[in-house]
């Protein structure tokens, strides 16, 4: 972009015929024309930069907005919601005066281009969202999806992503307590790196992103602004990868976790002294986003002098400064008499802080550079009134055929020996194998409040030392189910996360989601997206768990091949006393094992069909949300009243996977009896939803059965915790040592 002469508002008005590189910046022709119409003249270079990043798919949700509205329209009545969709992150009341904020976001594209920095800055971004709400971050979770486990590029992407998450999160002092790692060839060129974070605050400490009060100062603090991540939002996140284009490496930001740690402490100290009127983090679209969102959410306008922004590279143009996605920066609105104290706190923490502007009583966002006005816009047109697309969508032609290819008809093991071999193959398959090679690179212990961390069903953090109040979080998603049926696949993701939270004894309260899909310009993908959102919104309504916010990642597609539709759902729960939590591991020999729920012949999308037959077809397991709710109530009551000592949700891999995990973690085996009416194969491998296994002390047997009976939850005694084998009576017995070898050696061998 030419800067001689400076492209001021005046200059733009006088030179209507100057050609601007709107296409290179990712805008479509009609979008550019809309900008011209809004402004009544051509935009300046700086204005174009702002519109292009803020109107990108990543920032504007232009393709997804019309569908996402359902989360609000169908939101169940919930007293727990304090702040809903639209802010940096949703806030939920968890009782005793505490509020919890949580959110999941994607950093998919950058993590493919540059795995370490892409993943690291994903953690940094979500953590800043949490701080911006006024909360102290207390934990992170990372749902990850990679290409085939044995593909050479997975060996490049996965270790980098894991090291990046660890390198950043560990250095911030945030325990990593949950997440997932899934391998599937469909993610080969498009790994999914989703990052979630939880923060805790008192109700009165909630902060919002708005600039109010004319005369209040706008302070930019944190790292200096550099040339990294320019156009990241518009070019990287909003276009399909295409081999023909030059390397996009420079568009990925570089993280500095030490700077972010200082930013956390410094921000929390400023909050504690009530110095902050409004706050916004700088993530995607950097200053463009922060200034336009703060100004449009407040009551006034804003004037910013871009020359005052501290730079890492003095040659940056104003357009670049506005678009830069340099990490570890925040923007605060502070009353004039509190500015000195705010700057003092920043200095204490060695954080650079600069007043770059002030709130005005107008309604314009004006930005100056070298004395000239280079931006003069209504901030709402930048931040909130971007294009909205009603993209065409259509059920793909292949969907019927896919569903007709019934996994229930696949050949099943004919002998006990074959059944045993398939069990070993399953628990040692990359998706079902232990992920401790990965999770041991994350700090679970820091902050000293971790009650449960992966591989538990949900991560759990104590938030009050006196009362034992705690929160739990689980994230789940199953792209295979969603590919077979996006509506029910999304519901199954919610059901699983909901169940996982309840399995540990916490009451599910609210939902955040990260919706990962292919290109919205493909009607088949758009149909998947529309169906998944509809399914999720319907299910949230039925379960009474509102969506508090989330993130959409589209264009996860290389050429024609889109990823499986992958809605990842995070459920947040609360537990009155973490001492009542229920772990996965078997605790004591002799305890009775019960299966809760109904087991049907459901193998569509199952781990068994993938591992044994490399097959994807048929229908995913049936969804019964009322059953999920009943199961959750039983698990929570049983946990609270001390009726169960361990519990594990049944999902991918079915019952045998769950039993093996509980046995290996508890270092105690199990004797299992195939219940009447079921064959051993279905008993072990079915993935029927709405189920869990629990270990009940003998003294609680009657009470537990009575409770399930009275509430109408099917309960089947399936065995006992015992010995050092997993013994399926009449079929086979596998020593724990052999199971451990199969379960724990796979991932290290693949990634060594």
């Amino acid at each position: 972009m030419s800067r001689t002469p400076l492209d001021t508002v005046e200059h733009a008005a006088a030179t209507p015929d100057v050609e601007l590189p709107w296409a290179e910046l990712g805008l479509k022709k009609d979008e550019y024309e809309r900008v011209v119409e809004i402004l009544g003249r051509r935009p300046t270079g700086a204005e174009l930069a702002m519109y292009s990043v803020m109107w990108s798919e990543h920032c504007s949700y232009k393709s997804s907005k019309v569908h996402l509205r359902q989360f609000g329209e169908k939101a169940p009545q919930s007293d727990a919601m304090l702040v809903g969709i639209g802010e940096n992150a949703g806030v939920v009341d968890v009782g005793q005066g505490y509020a919890v904020t949580f959110k999941v976001e994607s950093h998919n594209h950058p993590s493919y281009v540059e795995p370490y920095q892409g993943a690291a800055t994903g953690v940094g971004g979500i953590v800043r969202d949490i701080i911006a709400m006024g909360a102290r971050p207390v934990a992170v979770v990372d749902p990850l999806r990679f290409g085939a486990a044995d593909h050479p590029d997975t060996k490049r992407v996965l270790p980098g992503v894991v090291a990046g998450i660890g390198g950043y999160g560990n250095c911030l002092g945030l325990p990593n307590i949950g997440g997932e790692v899934v391998f599937d060839a469909c993610y080969q060129g498009n790994p999914l790196v989703n990052a979630g974070a939880i923060g805790v605050m008192r109700h009165e400490d909630i902060h919002l992103a708005k600039a109010s009060g004319a005369g209040n100062k706008v302070i930019l603090y944190g790292a200096r602004t550099g040339g990294d991540g320019i156009g990241g939002a518009s070019i990287l996140a909003s276009e399909t990868f295409d081999d023909a284009k030059p390397s996009k490496r420079p568009a990925v930001q570089v993280g500095d976790p030490f700077q972010e740690k200082l930013l956390i402490e410094c921000t929390l100290e400023a909050f504690a002294e009530k110095l902050v009127v409004g706050i916004q983090d700088l993530g995607a679209a950097g200053l463009s986003c922060a200034t336009s969102e703060l100004a449009s959410n407040g009551s006034g306008g804003m004037r910013v002098t871009l020359d005052d922004v501290p730079l890492r590279d003095s040659t940056l143009s104003p357009e670049e400064i506005l678009m830069s996605e340099s990490q570890e920066r925040m923007c605060a609105v502070v009353e004039p008499e509190k500015v000195d104290r705010f700057l003092e706190i920043c200095e204490k923490w060695d954080v650079i802080a600069t007043v770059i502007g002030e709130v005005t009583d107008g309604d314009r966002l004006e930005i100056y550079w070298h004395g000239g006005k280079i931006v003069d816009v209504d901030p709402r047109t930048v931040a909130h009134e971007g294009p909205v697309y009603e993209r065409p969508y259509a059920r793909p032609s292949w969907q019927d055929e896919l569903q007709a290819d019934d996994a229930n008809k696949l050949p099943r093991p004919a002998t006990a020996e074959e059944l045993k071999d398939q069990v070993l193959k399953l628990v040692g398959s990359p998706n079902q194998a232990s992920k401790s090679w990965i999770t041991s690179q994350y700090d679970h212990f820091v902050q000293g409040n971790t009650v449960l961390a992966q591989p538990e069903d949900s991560g759990m953090i104590r938030i009050d030392e006196e009362t034992g109040l705690g929160v739990a979080i689980a994230t789940d998603g199953n792209g295979r189910y969603a590919k077979l049926d996006p509506y029910h696949g999304a519901q199954l993701a919610l059901a699983e996360a909901y169940r996982n939270v309840a399995t540990t004894g916490a009451k599910p309260l609210a939902v955040s989601d990260c919706l990962n899909f292919g290109s919205p310009e493909d009607p088949a993908v758009m149909w998947q997206f529309a169906e998944a959102v509809r399914g999720l919104a319907d299910a949230c309504q039925q379960l009474g768990t509102p969506v508090t916010g989330g993130n959409v990642s589209l264009y996860n597609q290389t050429g024609e091949a889109a990823i499986h539709p992958t809605p990842v759902v995070a459920v947040l729960g609360v537990i009155d006393d973490v001492a009542r939590r229920t772990p996965v591991a078997f605790q004591e020999e002799g305890q009775l094992l019960y299966l809760l729920g109904d087991t049907r012949e459901e193998f569509g999308g199952s781990a068994w069909s993938q591992v044994v037959h490399d097959h994807l077809g048929g229908l995913p397991p049936k969804v019964d949300l009322e059953r999920e709710r009943l199961l959750a109530e039983i698990l929570i009551s049983a946990s609270r009243d001390g009726m169960i000592d361990s519990a594990h949700d049944l999902s991918d891999g079915g019952l045998i996977q769950a039993v093996v995990e509980s046995a290996l973690l508890g270092e105690k085996g199990a004797r299992l009896i195939v219940p009447d009416g079921l064959d051993a194969f279905t008993f072990l491998f079915s993935e029927s939803a709405g189920r869990a296994i629990v270990a009940v002390p003998r003294s609680e047997e009657v009470r537990f059965n009575d409770m399930c009976g009275a509430r109408g939850l099917p309960v089947t005694r399936i065995g006992v915790v015992d010995g050092d084998t997993v013994d399926v009576q009449g079929e086979f017995a596998l020593p724990l040592t052999e199971l451990r070898e199969a379960h724990e050696s796979t991932i290290p061998a693949l990634l060594k």
Binding site: A163, G166, G167, N170, C171, L172, G173, D256, P257, F258, Q259, K261, L262, W349, D350, T439, S440, Q441, Y442, D443, H444, F445, V446, Q447, G448, N449, T450, V451, R462, E465, V578, A579, R581
Partner: protein, 226 residues
């Protein structure tokens, strides 16, 4: 009466609040110290906690070692003030030459977080009297740069003088020489180790064990009885 134990916060310290909690759980009074403090607020002992001071962008602990608070700390430690360095704190003590040796990057080149089995080799330091020599304990370990190294002469001397305070058992998580997890100075008032006792003081939290609590009860008893 109780004892006042200082916990220093450097930029990038992570376990300062946890360490203060562990001190409270043991029954002592934690006192927050800031890295720019020029005095130690008359505390009876000091813990340098874990974290990534200054991001560990230079050698771990190499910058923190020059913080203003280190001046009185060095002086008083040499005069007998009990000092415990945990993880990054151990690295800082090594950089400050209060303890011998240094920590390199883990030999497998990954951050590692695990419940680590240790043997208490020296139960006579200011921080270990509530253990018995030879006792086997589990303490969480989490670090990137935990490989303890020193020259053979120093190692032999440490062994001969009983100054290897803790040794890794069953599994050496980072390639430390002679499985050394922690060491003490000659006087036994300064102890450093890579594992994190402050994360093993409550039965519900972390690994669910309280094997780290004796660090804090040992020092409390020593100070209260003194």
């Amino acid at each position: 009466m109780t004892a006042r134990i200082g916990v220093v916060t450097f930029p990038g310290s992570l376990d300062d609040r946890d360490t203060q909690r562990a001190i409270r759980v043991a029954g002592a009074e934690p006192v927050a110290l800031w890295h720019k403090d020029k005095d130690l607020k008359q505390v009876d002992a000091v813990v340098l906690c874990g974290g990534f001071s200054y991001g560990d962008y230079l050698r771990a602990g190499a910058i923190a070692r020059f913080s203003p608070v280190m001046e009185p700390l060095l002086e008083q430690a040499k005069a007998g003030l009990p000092v415990l360095g945990i993880c990054n704190g151990f690295q800082i003590l090594a950089e400050a030459h209060l303890l011998p040796g240094t920590m390199l990057r883990n030999n497998h080149l990954h951050f590692i977080c695990r419940d680590q089995k240790l043997r208490v080799e020296n139960a006579e330091t200011s921080w270990t009297t509530d253990y018995t020599a030879g006792q086997e304990i589990h303490i969480p370990l989490k670090n990137n740069d935990g490989q303890y190294v020193a020259d053979a002469y120093t190692l032999d001397q440490l062994e001969a003088e009983g100054r290897v305070a803790f040794r890794y058992l069953d599994f050496n998580p980072n390639g430390s020489q002679r499985d050394i997890a922690g060491v003490t100075n000659e006087a036994g008032n300064v102890v450093g180790l890579m594992p994190h006792p402050e994360h093993a003081v409550e039965p519900l939290i972390g690994t669910g064990r309280t094997d780290g609590l004796p660090f804090f009860t040992s020092i409390l008893k020593k100070l209260v009885n003194a």
